[in-house]
Amino acid sequence: MTEQSIPAPPILKLEKVIKTYHSGHQSLTVIRDITFTVPPGESVAIIGPSGSGKTTLLGICAGLDQPSEGAIELCGHRLDQLTEDQRAEVRNRKLGFVFQNFQLIPTLTALDNILIPLELRGDRKAREQALDWLAKVGLADRGHHYPVQLSGGEQQRIALARACVGNPEILFADEPTGNLDDETSQQIEDLLFETHARIGNTMVLVTHARELAQRCDRVLRIRSGHLEEVTDHVRS
């Protein structure tokens, strides 16, 4: 893998990251000595077969998990040196997440779900911003609906609004279209990239979908814990 030479400091930087899981007397290394950087504003897709370590890598990059070895720098913070609560703070201020299974809180309305990251910050203009994002994802009239009353595509739109409402510097997406039919997947993909373009933030997404990966600036493939750049990638 080769590092690209860019003028601005990277927003995400992994250096010799290793992740090993221990179970009894056995250990399993899922991530092996991975080093890479992501410059601000770039969209990066991580692809790989099931069990290759994609999700683990995403979790480590987003500060949801800690590496066994190596250093991670995200938005200027050394995640491996922060406490869990400090990492939570970083996630709240700098990151947005979109998940395969939407992960909306079932007891909250669509609007309330979007509000959460801002409310956790104590943002006083949270409601206006959330309503704005509700409109941006085309669900202005569904704010008072509960997740169970929304279709899968609608739920993912709400999840996207929640991920973006705090103007995150970097957006992580884990198989964002994995649970949707083709037509809805296409709509969500479009919305995701439109938003990325509109905000101008960085996006790291993990996906099986080749078409989705191809829309990113860069594609990385993970295989048996090793990461490699897909050199023949042509952005669609």
Binding site: G59, L64, D65, E84, D85, N92, Q103, L108, D112, G122
Partner: protein, 857 residues
């Protein structure tokens, strides 16, 4: 972001409350159901605390009415000139009373009854009230128009009315009215022998004041300024001389108040601890329910963490939910407790020496409320602690476990210690003694563990047997007891604890009654004739044989008091604090006998029993082992007796171990033949009646022929004891039922939480071809087994605990009553089954497609 920024952010309390409220959507009913587990426990504690506080207030206000006087002096012999002078010197308003037990005959109905006569020479009580019907009769005998007052229960029992006649001894009187209640006396005081009030002059007419009869003399005092220092000094002065000489016991209003308070404190401590068990089990129930609730919330927690909530914030959201719901549960419990507080006095009424006016006691309610909430909060903290370990990674990888196991979390152990400390504190505060309080906690912990162990064993044994030979339905029903998140053991322990309490009480009661009832077999005497005078003995024996009875035992009785022990006068011993002689010895009127043999229910354990003695004093006597320590004597020690003014010297020659049994006469002191036969003697004669009809007929004819002879019918005595135990047991059953109710609410909560899982299973089975009836059968088997395990574990443990209790406290043998145990078992199984089936209603009839679609969605 700087380090400072990391520390300052918090969305605020308002958001916390809003988030907790929003997050509880759709599950508030479920949360409310969880808190039902503590409702009964809090209710029990609040009810007992409130009632206790009410009674304390009443006792404080009515302290003088409890005794009916400022001071009472009592003696088992007439006061005498010297005492009369002393009492005249004390001054104040005085009323004398003579009490004795005798037979009453009712000419109208030809019925008779063993009664207690209370003859007054003035108004009684001097404080408080004597409630009569008609009310104008009141406490002053002068207002009774030469009639007598008869206790209401006796009037009802014998179908008497004011104006009817009653024969007491040789005299016949008109019944002036009913005695409804006397201040300071409970209903129980008239259970064994109903009270009849008359004047001392009327009592003289009856001719019942005879030598040898057990007669109690009392003098009541009311002083204008209460018990002044001068009066107290006079009493103190008389304590070691005059009171010793005349066998006087004194009691002040303060003494009585302390005594009543002590008795009530013991009763309420006991009831409170039973209520506390319900609360504790409820607390464990809530913890289990919160655990399951939080399991359903793990994903939300992980997501909140992922979106930037700190571990503390996530913890606070759920702590707030559980705390608020816990407080609501405690509030409902407190309201229930206030309601019960008004019901509880009904069964207690018979035992209380004053009428109860129950009032709302905010202090007690608040204390119960806060304590209930504390218990819920502490127990809920255990599952809540896990929240801190929920990883945000769980959002993208559901298989991720908690950061670290609970057992390695120091906060978990700190919490367990806090729970134990709270329970111990409550227990110690209740019992007022470290040792008892901690013993209760240890005993409770041991019982819970034993119950859980027994239940586990039973469940295991059932599973083993089902594997080998059980039907498909049986095996499936049984496997439901092992479903994920099952709270089988908790439910079994909760219900089992209630069964343990109720069944232990049932067995103890059965053993006590057996002790009384058991004597009534074969040829053992079941009727005792008391106060038979020497000159009546021959006539009585002829009368008995004419009526088809034979005297089984004829026991001479000579009353006497201790005058000196080993040459030291009782006055001197009274002044010597190191003498160690029990108080009762100084005033007790001993009813001793003489005979030439040891009865078959006694054994000589020391010295030699002397059957006949023709020598000079000291006479060799035999003492019962149980008075040795009280008198501080042993073999060879000398005791001087005062036999109605005549002094007799004796020496202890043997010690007997007596197996005291109801209905069997035995004596603390036995003289040999040839010693005290010439002293004034009365006789007790025992006979056997085949049935109640025969004893009733004997009673009726005996009362007419020998009016002074009292007849004690053991069958009636048994019924009375049964009646008293019935009332006492009701109160304890009432409280123990709270633990069973707690168990059933835990069951209901558990079934509701597993409802969706059950529906899915039911749908799957129905998709595979099972009928609705089969599903219902499965549920029925599950709840039957649950109820059976709980009841069986409780009953088995109660047998062990009863055996230990009877052995250590009553020295009685365990009497198993399989019918009663079976009834308990069936009742508990039925209750469990009904609760289970009610909460699973509709499960068997869910349309499969709807559920499968829901699964897909």
């Amino acid at each position: 972001m700087s380090e400072a920024e990391f520390k300052t952010r918090h969305p605020g309390l308002a958001w916390l409350a809003k988030m907790a409220w929003r997050d509880s959507r759709g599950q508030r009913r479920l949360l409310a159901l969880f808190t039902l587990s503590i409702v009964f426990g809090v209710g029990a504690v609040v009810a007992i605390q409130s009632l206790r506080s009410n009674l304390s207030d009443i006792i404080e206000v009515q302290s003088r009415a409890l005794l009916g006087a400022d001071l009472v002096l009592r003696s088992q012999q007439a006061f005498g000139v010297e005492m009369d002078a002393f009492m005249a010197d004390l001054g104040g308003q005085q009323t004398r009373e003579i009490r004795l037990r005798s037979m009453a005959f009712f000419p109208g109905s030809s019925g008779s009854q063993f009664v207690q006569l209370r003859a007054l020479d003035g108004p009684y009580p001097l404080y408080g009230e004597m409630e009569t019907e008609p009310v104008e009769l009141g406490p002053n005998p002068n207002d009774w128009q030469d009639g007598v007052l008869v206790e209401e229960n006796l009037m009802i029992q014998q179908q008497l009315a004011p104006g009817d006649s009653i024969r007491l001894g040789d005299a016949e009187f008109r019944i002036a009215g009913r005695l409804v209640r006397v201040s300071g006396e409970s209903e129980v005081s008239g259970f064994f022998s109903p009270r009849i009030y008359l004047t001392i002059d009327q009592l003289q007419e009856t001719g019942l004041l005879q030598e040898g009869s057990i007669i109690n003399h009392r003098a009541y005092f009311r002083f204008p300024d209460g018990l002044t220092e001068t009066i107290q000094e006079k009493l103190q002065e008389a304590r070691n001389n005059l009171f010793v000489d005349y066998g006087i016991r004194r009691e002040t209003a303060e003494n009585r108040q302390e005594r009543v308070e002590r008795i009530l404190a013991n009763l309420f401590d006991f009831l409170n601890l039973i209520g506390f068990i319900a609360l504790l089990l409820g607390g464990i129930g809530v913890a289990g329910a919160v655990h399951i609730f939080l399991q359903q919330k793990v994903n939300t927690m992980a997501l909140l963490r992922c979106l930037g909530a700190s571990s503390g914030l996530a913890f606070q959201i759920y702590w707030l939910q559980v705390s608020v719901v816990g407080m609501l549960g405690a509030l409902v419990g407190a309201m229930l407790g206030v309601g019960i507080q008004f019901l509880l006095p009904i069964p207690l009424r018979a035992f209380l020496p004053f009428p109860i006016e129950v009032q709302f006691d905010p202090g007690a309610v608040l204390a119960g409320l806060l304590f209930g909430w504390l218990i819920v909060s502490l127990f809920s903290f255990v599952p809540l602690l896990k929240i801190r370990g929920v990883s945000p990674l769980k959002v993208i990888r559901s298989s991720v476990g908690n950061a670290r196991p609970m057992r390695r979390d120091p906060l978990f152990w700190a919490l367990i210690m806090a729970i134990v400390a709270a329970i111990s504190t409550f227990s110690v505060l209740q019992t007022q003694q470290w040792t008892y309080g901690l013993a209760f906690v240890a005993g409770l912990g041991g019982s819970l563990l034993l119950l859980a162990g027994l239940a586990w064993l039973l469940r295991w044994a059932l599973r083993l047997s089902a594997r080998r030979s059980g039907s498909f339905a049986w095996r499936l029903g049984l496997s439901n007891l092992y479903r994920p998140n099952n709270r089988t053991l908790l439910m079994v322990v909760s219900i089992g604890m209630g069964v343990l309490l109720i069944h232990t009480l049932f067995l103890v009661r059965a053993a006590l009654l057996h002790q009384v009832e058991g004597q009534d077999t074969g040829d053992a005497p079941n009727v005792i004739l008391l106060d038979v005078q020497s000159d009546q003995l021959d006539d009585l024996q002829s009368f008995l044989s004419d009526n088809g009875f034979s005297a089984l035992e004829t026991l001479p009785i000579v009353t006497m008091r201790v005058a000196a022990i080993n040459g030291r006068e009782m006055r001197e011993l009274r002044e010597d604090p190191d003498a160690g002689i029990s108080h009762w010895i100084f005033s007790w009127e001993f009813r001793n006998t003489f005979r030439d043999h040891v009865l078959d229910n006694a054994t000589v354990i020391e010295g030699e029993f002397v059957p006949r003695y023709d020598g000079p004093e000291p006479y060799p006597i035999s003492l019962s082992e149980n008075v040795l320590d009280d008198m501080k004597v042993g073999i060879g020690d000398r005791i001087s007796w005062n036999v109605q003014g005549v002094r007799i010297e004796t020496v202890v020659s043997s010690v007997r171990l007596i197996e005291w049994e109801v209905g069997r006469q035995n004596f603390n002191v036995v003289f040999p033949l040839g010693t005290i036969e010439d002293a004034p003697v009365v006789y007790a004669v025992t006979v056997r009646a085949r049935d109640r009809a025969e004893s009733s007929s004997l009673q009726a004819s005996l009362t007419q022929r020998f009016p002074n002879v009292s007849m004690l019918d053991l069958t009636l005595l048994f019924e009375t004891i049964n009646n008293i135990l019935d009332r006492a047991a009701f109160v304890i059953h009432f409280m123990a039922a709270f633990t069973i109710a707690t168990g059933l609410t835990v069951l209901a909560g558990s079934v509701v939480t597993s409802r969706y899982q059950r529906i899915k299973e039911s749908v799957l089975l129905r998709t595979l071809g099972a009928s609705g009836a089969f599903i219902r059968k499965l549920l029925m088997i599950e709840f039957l087994l649950l109820g059976f395990i709980a009841a069986a574990a409780g009953i088995l443990l109660s047998i062990v605990s009863t055996w230990a209790l009877l052995w250590s406290m009553f020295d009685l043998e365990l009497v198993l009553n399989w019918q009663g145990s079976l009834l308990t078992l069936v009742s508990v199984v039925a209750l469990t089954l009904i609760t289970g089936l009610l909460t699973t209603r509709g499960i068997a009839s869910q349309p499969p497609l709807a559920v499968l679609r829901r699964e897909e969605g």
